[in-house]
């Protein structure tokens, strides 16, 4: 068995574990909905019992121990409803860590097999890029004061889909680097670009949840009947927006560096630092969209949902740049290996 075959086996193993993690996260989301509904039911059934321990009534219909801790008053719109411990969530995170280790091993063995950094063609970009998305997610879990484990459904889902597409459609065997890629900038430029994609992905996920949350909040504010959902257990939209912003500006700075490092490399490889090559155009477009996002955050009337939409458009252009531009547009960045 060659190193590359070992690497592929590890990728499939990682995908299997990611799938388990994805299911665990999904179950957790379902339980959050159940817990939210149960909390409302308690509030309705026992209006006099505010502040008193609500015990048996809730614990029976809902398997999760979660709702027990939820006091009746938490169904208000502001602030996350107390949700408590969730076994499936912990399984999800544990499985994500295991999958991440397998994924890391797959990436490293691919690099050793190729005797270079494992990001020189489309398959390897996807392999390393998804690894970084998971890494950023786990990193944010450790660093953030807020419990962001609920993003696991999105992160493992996205990584799983991208890895699936990569192994089925993008796979190429190890081949030597063409002269144009033999540069130290391959290590720096491409790695920083994939890293910023990791941050943009997380910012995207947070912005989507922010939009859902703010829609729910406006419904609650207008006193319409609101279907209780997992959103009740998540941070409010302002918190989500701040988190999305902080993650996204890290991505933006890395993207700025990507653009500049790319220009320096282009000067050495192609004789000009900027030539409106299709990939350069899209790198520029992504940069401008995220610059717009940062400005929108500082513009009255644009903070909130509108800026969230810009973050979503921004990540869509990132994905477009990675897939459609790489595969179908003619240009100098023809390194997909396909």
């Amino acid at each position: 068995m060659t190193l590359d075959q070992i690497s592929i086996t590890l990728v499939y193993s990682a995908m299997a574990v990611y799938a388990v993690a994805f299911i665990a996260y999904a179950i957790d989301l379902a339980r959050r909905s159940a817990a939210a509904t149960a909390a409302v039911a308690v509030a309705v059934e026992a209006p006099a019992a505010v502040g008193a321990p609500v015990s048996t009534k809730v614990a029976e219909p809902v398997e999760a121990a979660a709702a027990v801790e939820a006091p009746a008053s938490t169904s208000s719109a502001n602030g996350a409803m107390a949700y408590g411990r969730s076994p499936s969530l912990r399984v999800g995170v544990a499985m994500t860590v295991v999958a991440w280790l397998l994924h890391l091993a797959a990436d490293v063995t691919r690099g050793i097999a190729a005797e270079r950094v494992p990001w020189a063609n489309m398959y390897e970009f996807a392999l390393t890029g998804t690894l970084i998305i998971t890494t950023v997610y786990l990193l944010v879990l450790v660093v953030s004061k807020h419990d962001l484990r609920f993003l696991g459904t999105f992160v493992t889902g996205l990584v799983l889909v991208l890895l699936g597409v990569a192994t089925v459609n993008f796979y190429v065997s190890v081949v030597p680097l063409p002269p144009a890629l033999q540069s130290a900038w391959l290590v720096i430029h491409v790695f920083v670009a994939t890293s910023s994609v990791g941050f943009f992905a997380l910012g995207f996920a947070l912005s989507v949840v922010q939009l859902l949350q703010s829609r729910r909040e406006s419904l609650v504010a207008s006193a319409k009947a609101v279907k209780q959902s997992f959103l009740a257990t998540l941070p409010d939209s302002a918190t989500l927006e701040n988190l999305a912003y902080r993650v996204t500006i890290v991505g933006f700075i890395l993207w700025t560096f990507t653009l500049m490092a790319g220009a320096i490399w282009a000067e050495a490889a192609w004789g000009r630092y900027w030539g409106w090559d299709t990939k350069e155009v899209w790198t520029f477009i992504i940069w401008v969209v995220y610059a717009g996002y940062i400005h929108a955050r500082a513009t009255r009337g644009w903070r909130g949902s509108r800026s969230a939409w810009l973050a979503i458009i921004g990540f869509s252009t990132v994905l477009f740049n990675f897939t459609v531009v790489n595969l179908f547009f003619k240009g100098l960045h023809a390194y997909s290996g396909l």
Partner: protein, 587 residues
């Protein structure tokens, strides 16, 4: 120093999130048209001011940014003259109806088009209109004192209290408790000021209503970084727009053993900048001694994939000795103020044509342009003089010739294993005598008669290095010269010369662009991650006469860590977090 008592207004556009609300801030008397709804009409100046205010507003800047992103898209959908001129010609050929319409919208020159330029120029005007007042204001803020301590800190972010520790008065002294408390409060505020100053804050002591306090502000670098970022963007635009006009780029194909002198006439193509003066060309001599091409031979998945191209050259100044140099992909040779790039290579078979008497009428190494990864190459040989009629030949070179099942030839490997040259011969008028410039890489056979290949029924001429055959119709003979006649009979690895296609550039603005790019990145980092915040510490007197230390902060812009920072400072200053009164002291 600054007369402003409240530098809160950061001189941002009105619709900036940090600017005071328009409704809350009544229009100043200097600008009566501002908030006055009843104003019947604006004068010319008023309209101009209104237009300027609109242009420099955040909303306009944002819309222009988004418009810029959208305007950049078509350039990636349609080939551009600047980066892909052949693609444009092809597009015209493929879409004869659509292409002229697109062309009238400058779709093939998107990034120099009027509409694209309009968007980014408006954006930059908006930027200038925003940056100038902010710079002025920032200079004032840099010289201003931190503002007065607010009367009620409890409304502000991260508000927290700590008890003031009053030392027990020494026995026998007559000092009252009150003055001891005042002294302790003063000392505590002094200590707070010193600690804040040490932490990089600008501090100012205030004693208002008998309460000692310190007002501190930090993070001026945030605004500095923001201004540097935006100014550096302008710098890039200017450097590219003006500096770029002084440079040039040129292309030149050089065959192994040949050389070229850096003069205007020697270039195959030359694109001078707007302000370029060709007297600035330093006429150095560049000789291509050897071009090494290495192809993969081991990895079964990648046989024939290029591994390395190295052009060994020698560079000779006008009045100096020759110096060796190397040009590789990714490693340009920077010499005599120009940058030499290796952007392509291929084969240049040496072809000799003799007349029926054996006199040489043509001999040259003709660059053949590669058509695929295995370097099947096409070239054109033109023999204008010396024969009865002008002669043109279209040749195919197969570095490693194989025959496809269809009988057609192809190359199966890019290196010289079994090189074969085939030629179709045309006789007649080459069309080069009437002074119209024609490409050396194409042959116009419209006024010529085809003698071999195609529908003529005569086989194409087929040669291996070192071979000679007669031309049809007794025109003479043609030889495919072996570049290395001393090599072993079946070793063709050096039998055909190679050519290098060099791009030679000079862009004096490049260094400036790099400087501004670094400033952009540095400015961005500082403006996004340095928190601008104010902090106050006050020795507040409670109605019962006791004095407590109050701490609070104010975020100016994004500052997620503010509350933690206030708490951390309070702990550091007063020693430990507040002890709930009823809890027993921990052991």
């Amino acid at each position: 120093m600054s007369p402003r008592s409240d530098p809160d207004a950061l001189s941002r556009p009105d619709d900036h999130i940090d600017a005071p609300e328009r409704d809350a801030a009544p229009a100043s008397p200097r600008q009566p048209e501002d908030g006055a709804v009843t104003q019947p009409k604006l004068g010319a100046v008023g309209w101009l001011r209104f237009a300027w205010r609109q242009l420099t507003s955040m909303r306009t800047a944002l819309l222009l940014l988004l418009l810029l992103a959208i305007a950049a898209v078509p350039g990636s959908l349609v080939p551009q003259r600047s980066s892909d001129p052949n693609g444009v010609s092809q597009y015209f050929a493929d879409n004869p109806d659509l292409a002229p319409v697109l062309d009238s919208f400058q779709m093939f020159d998107v990034y120099t088009s009027a509409w694209f330029s309009a968007v980014y120029l408006l954006l930059f005007v908006s930027l200038i209109g925003c940056v100038i007042p902010r710079t002025k204001h920032h200079f004032e803020a840099l010289r201003a004192r931190p503002p007065r301590t607010p009367a009620r800190l409890s409304r502000l972010a991260g508000y927290t209290e700590r008890p003031l520790v009053v030392p027990e008065p020494a026995e026998g002294t007559a000092a009252s408790t009150g003055s001891a408390t005042d002294a302790a409060a003063d000392a505590a505020i002094d200590a707070a000021a010193a600690q804040l100053k040490q932490a990089g804050y600008r501090v100012e002591r205030y004693d208002l209503r008998g309460e000692a306090s310190v007002s501190a502000e930090r993070g001026y670098l945030r605004e500095t970084g923001n201004l540097v970022f935006h100014t550096a963007l302008l710098g890039i635009l200017v450097a590219v727009g003006i500096g770029g006009g002084f440079g040039f780029s040129g292309q030149r194909v050089v065959v192994e053993g040949q050389s070229f002198v850096n003069t205007l006439a020697a270039y195959d193509s030359f694109n001078p900048g707007r302000f370029f003066d060709d007297a600035n060309l330093d006429p150095y001599r560049l000789e291509l001694e050897e071009l090494d091409a290495v192809y993969e031979t081991q990895n079964q998945e990648a046989i024939g994939q290029p591994i390395d191209f190295t052009a060994r050259v020698s560079v000779q100044a006008q009045d100096g000795a020759a110096e060796p140099g190397v040009v590789k992909v990714n490693e340009p040779l920077r010499v005599h103020g120009t940058d030499v790039y290796l952007l392509g290579n291929g084969y240049a078979p040496t072809i000799t044509v003799r007349d029926p008497d054996g006199e040489v009428v043509f001999t040259d190494s003709v660059p053949f342009l590669p058509q695929d990864a295995n370097l099947t190459s096409i070239g054109v040989v033109k023999v204008p003089d010396g024969l009865a009629d002008q002669l043109g030949m279209v040749g195919f070179l197969y570095p490693t010739q194989t025959t496809l099942p269809s009988g057609a030839y192809t190359s199966s490997y890019p290196d010289l294993v079994f090189p074969v040259l085939t030629l179709n011969v045309y006789q007649g008028d080459l069309g080069i005598d009437d002074g119209v410039p024609t490409s050396v890489y194409t042959l116009d056979p419209s006024s010529m008669e085809q003698l071999t290949g195609g529908s003529t029924g005569v086989d194409s001429i087929e040669l291996m290095p070192g071979e000679t055959v007669d031309l049809p119709n007794g025109l003479g003979s043609i030889t495919f010269e072996n570049a290395d006649p001393d090599a072993a009979a079946d070793d063709y690895s050096t039998s055909v010369s190679r050519f290098a296609s060099f791009d030679i550039h000079n862009d004096p603005s490049q260094g400036w662009v790099l400087v501004f790019a670094v400033l952009i990145l540095a400015g961005l980092l500082v403006s996004l991650f340095v928190p601008r915040r104010r902090m106050w510490v006050k020795a507040a007197r409670r109605p019962d006469g006791t004095v407590v230390l109050e701490y609070a902060g104010l975020a100016r812009g994004e500052d997620p860590g503010l509350e933690d920072a206030v708490a951390a400072f309070a702990d550091k200053h007063a020693g430990g977090p507040p002890q709930p009164a009823k809890r027993n002291p921990s052991t």
